[in-house]
Symmetry: D3
Subunit: 260 residues, 6 copies
């Protein structure tokens, strides 16, 4: 029977640990690699609701993008969300593994999926890191030349998000960079690569103004909506590799943030 270790080994082929950023925490963060696995729950985050869903659906493993443990905890109690999640997983013998910045940066990962979902053509890695398999954070691709307004509609529709926040640099959309999650700090890279438009999330006030100053259309499409597209893709790859396991995408995990 497949074990947690088999899943870890498979994830290593999709998003090698060597592709993660230095500060990141990835791999087996809770449980045991020796545990047998018959059901996997895949989700963007290992939050409490996802852990509860795992116990309710009988999954022995959750596979997520974000790590269960980011700031190492000095206690595991029911007074914190991370404590409640770990206590629940341990109580039910559920393991938790994740691929975070390694999945952002790997070919076929978070950002390739995002670029494809937006319908970009000739997708390339921006500033690829030289390695046997080149990788990197941002992707860029070409869109039909169009007014920003039209592209905003495409983004909203493709990602299924309720709202977008953006700044209009006055340029039409033609060369688009994407960075799922909080990548606004990389806007100069996108610009240097020749892009006129950058889709990312968690953009702050001064960053919108920086983009305007730099002449870059900057679109905040939401952290959840720019990263979640990888979840069903990842689930599909796991299912294909382990046909005997039931692989489910979380049905309960949605963005908690809403627009009004």
């Amino acid at each position: 029977m497949a074990t947690v270790n088999d899943i870890l080994n498979f994830l290593e082929t999709l998003a090698p640990r060597s592709m993660k950023m230095d500060w990141d925490n990835v791999g087996l963060l809770c449980g045991s690699k020796h545990n047998p696995v018959t059901k996997i729950l895949v989700a963007l985050d290992p939050f409490e609701g996802v852990c509860r869903e795992a116990t309710e659906t009988g999954a022995e493993l959750i596979v997520t993008h974000h790590p269960l443990i980011f700031q190492a905890p000095t206690s595991i109690t029911d007074e914190t969300s991370i404590g409640r999640s770990i206590m629940r997983l341990c109580r039910h013998g559920i393991s938790a593994v994740n691929a975070h910045t390694n999945l952002d940066q790997a070919p076929g990962g978070v950002n390739d999926v995002l670029a494809e979902r937006l319908g970009l053509k000739n997708i390339q890695i921006v500033d690829p890191i030289d390695a046997p398999i080149p990788y990197g954070l941002l992707r860029m691709g070409e869109a039909e030349s169009q007014p920003l307004e039209k592209f905003l509609a495409t983004v909203k529709d493709a990602l299924g998000c309720d709202g977008l926040r953006y700044v209009d640099s006055g340029k039409p959309v033609r060369h688009v960079a994407v960075g799922g999650g909080s990548c606004a700090g990389a806007m100069q890279e996108a610009l240097d690569a020749g892009c006129d438009t950058f889709v990312t999330a968690d953009v702050k006030y001064n960053q919108f103004w920086d983009a305007k100053d730099l002449g870059l259309n900057l679109i905040d499409a939401g952290h959840f909506y720019t990263e979640n597209p990888v979840v069903p893709v990842l689930a599909g790859k796991l299912q294909a590799a382990f046909p005997e396991i039931t692989v489910k995408v979380s049905e309960t995990h949605h963005d908690c943030m809403k627009f009004y």
Copy 2:
């Protein structure tokens, strides 16, 4: 004739330097305190557009909330926005003064104005710092008990913003904390003070989830829209104190970020 120094002294009565945070940069950031002033332009930010408006309207002084210089520049050239602003101000002999976190924290400042604009009652400083004139970052006040949806409409209407982002903790709105700009890091303080709802800006993905975990309605009403209400108030106080000076609120400075 009034000089820049007279304005600085008046601002010191509204928002004493002793109330600023350690890392902040406030006061006279460009020009000369000896310059005479006949026209003042007041705005939230000393961005290029505001500097241009100052030259076009003949103002000798701009008074803003955000500082002209935040990250000290190693060059002053037309290749950066800050360089272009400083060069323009110097070329036209315009001075720039600001009150930032001292105005956030001072009684009657950014956050008192915000709380009043939202119609809160019994407005108090959250965790006031003990001083002859107590001050502090957040304000809290009471609203008529109401569903969150209703309060969202009030916020949007009162601040005139195009959109809001929020998380719904399931609680009705009764005790509301406010912190204009990027204050989500203080959400625990708001909670500890007994609030069910917190209005601030620049909220990140994980902060919305933290609020949900903590049982706090968190509303991101925009950095510009939560802080800009202080601008006409500040202009009014300047005008009242210096009737011989023409005090104008910037007509060109709006939020560059839009919702879609």
Copy 3:
């Protein structure tokens, strides 16, 4: 029914959190303060064997001196001892609380118990910290003036340890300082307080030589043997305070180190 919180409150009276060292981690480190408690297991360490004994004896709470979590873990897996302990506690719904340096320093704590066990008279705190209830790390007391050899026999007998390591400064034993666990770094303090002999543990090569240079008899009586005497005392106080709870001292936890 008593809860974990009641135990925490009682421990706070014995060893207030304010008496701990800055770097220390004490209190509820695993579980829930709301859990009911009918059986407590008390031990020096919350190691795997103790956690296993707790599950086997049906305890809902372990109370230890050393903290369950010292170096905050970036994962909770069966590949580490700390991971296995936490997983076991969570699986069985057992909570873990501890009092570490607060119990070392509190009156009636680790070092008072050790000093009494060694039969010292006129026991005092060395360099007491000025507070409503003075406290401090080391204790000192008087012994009948005797050759070191004789005192070594007393120590070995009183603590029940298989062996001692020591350096003989040539002085007879009269004024004795004690510091359970790794306190050799405080030998100058013991000397300055007028002691000729210091009982502690985990002494390194250069520290034995330092003691010889300073003219101090230094005795390493073992980390376990110098701190474990507090365990039955602590259990007794818990039992007296909570007569309805079954309080047990661990039967399986002994020092793993042996002499040959």
Copy 4:
């Protein structure tokens, strides 16, 4: 018409940016690379007097050795010398460029000019950094073997300085190292290269004694006097490269320090 950018490009051929030290600030520090240039003022320092001379002579560009901005300023006001300089330059649309440690280290730069001015033969780079064009801080060369007293007269005469400060190691002068400005920290390098005499500036009390201990004649010939010789050389090269531009050496900038 030539622009500031053309001057920058030409300076890059004389003193490439890659030759500067990590902490240094060189290149365009004020103004715009797009500005046309018909008159250049060249000086060692971009101090207020030099900026005033630029405005009075109609120069659109000042070229200096020392940077206009060293410690990045948190305000640009008339209360500081740097603020007054920047305000003046901006008011008059004058740009400022500089080549500092890159010009110290480049072949033909500050230290080669100094070595030649002192009449040294077989001038070489001390500890050259391996690069397509080797470079380095100090230069060394040979002098006719002579008593130190005689060489002091040569230095004073060649550099035109009013006074020298020195320590006499008792050795005759034969192999001389030079480092314009504050290079006394490199005296061991000069010694290791086989020099008996080192000409530099800004020497402190303990450094004179260190030199005496090491057996090195150490001569402080003044920061201004050891670096200023490069100024007319640099002006000459600029003039030759841009015959249509009027290139002037500052007539007002002298050392403010005097001997008594």
Copy 5:
């Protein structure tokens, strides 16, 4: 006549400076490399007793493993052991040289001698550092498969120590790693290299438990007893290389720590 420098050069062939750890202090730590040498005293430590023995036996040089100066002293007075040692050496014109971590790591050094003394076969460097002459901290070798108890007797007998402290992992002894002095921090390396048993010193309470958790027999045979075997070997090599010098092993230097 041989000088201190000749001894330094010879030690460089046995334990090159390039093999030392970054933080270490080795070589000539007191005196003059130009001093003639007719008598050398070799000891593990340059403590006061050894310095006194040097003066009493007329040695001009002491050669030790541990450095005379570890923590650089801010004064040289008779109030500290290091001060008294240095004052004595200087008063008598005695030089002090040492080889510390370079001798630990060099082939034929501390750990090879220790491994041989314990009768291990097929001795190898654990995790050798790639260099023309590979080197490294730990050594490993094979023993006849035996119960731990039997091996403990061998260690005690071979090293001549009065006592051992150890933890029994339950495994028989077959593959043994050794690291003289305080090497318990490297226990994972020993385990990864396939060892079941590790002989080192200065082991702390938690390290014994770590070893037990990891399934490693860990033996603390004393800092002195695990390193001192190299002393006569080193003396022998010096004597062979310098037959005209009298090379003596210290007769007074023993471990000050005793077992009871």
Copy 6:
């Protein structure tokens, strides 16, 4: 017979250790406080020449302003000046004590002596530190209003130095601050205290320009010449306190730096 300790106790009354700066090293830096003293050599520095003079004149103690050990040495050998000094002192059983920044700051110390030597009236501590006996680094006093040129002659004559370096701010001399040694970093303090002129040493190029910008006459009268006046005063006080001891001022120690 008087001992080194008696001298230390007396120095504590002149320049208490509590008045030193945090980073400083003062008191007994070499030798033994128990040593008897019949002859003391007093000098500004404990350099090799002074140590040699001590051995030649039979002094058992040198008392200096600058510390023997500033940068703690990792070896004591004849390859460094500090090593040679310490070896010489130890060889001859000479102790070394010093009072550095405590003597700079104490009433009656370096800077009071300097101010008096310059003939200033109404001498006061600049920015005195509040303590039972107030103290501080700089002194200020009044001079007859005079042209700078005249005051320069006074300084040169009073201190006996061969040359001065200075910048002329254009102001007459009336209120003079003094700081022996390297105190140019405190020029703003001198200015804020109302001084027009500041006498110190080790002034760098940019500091002369800063003084000119600030409108302060800055005079570099040499590190040796501004501090050495305290030496005979200190010797006199020692002689008065210990009439039975021969107290000598060094005859060989002069500034090694010369003007040309």
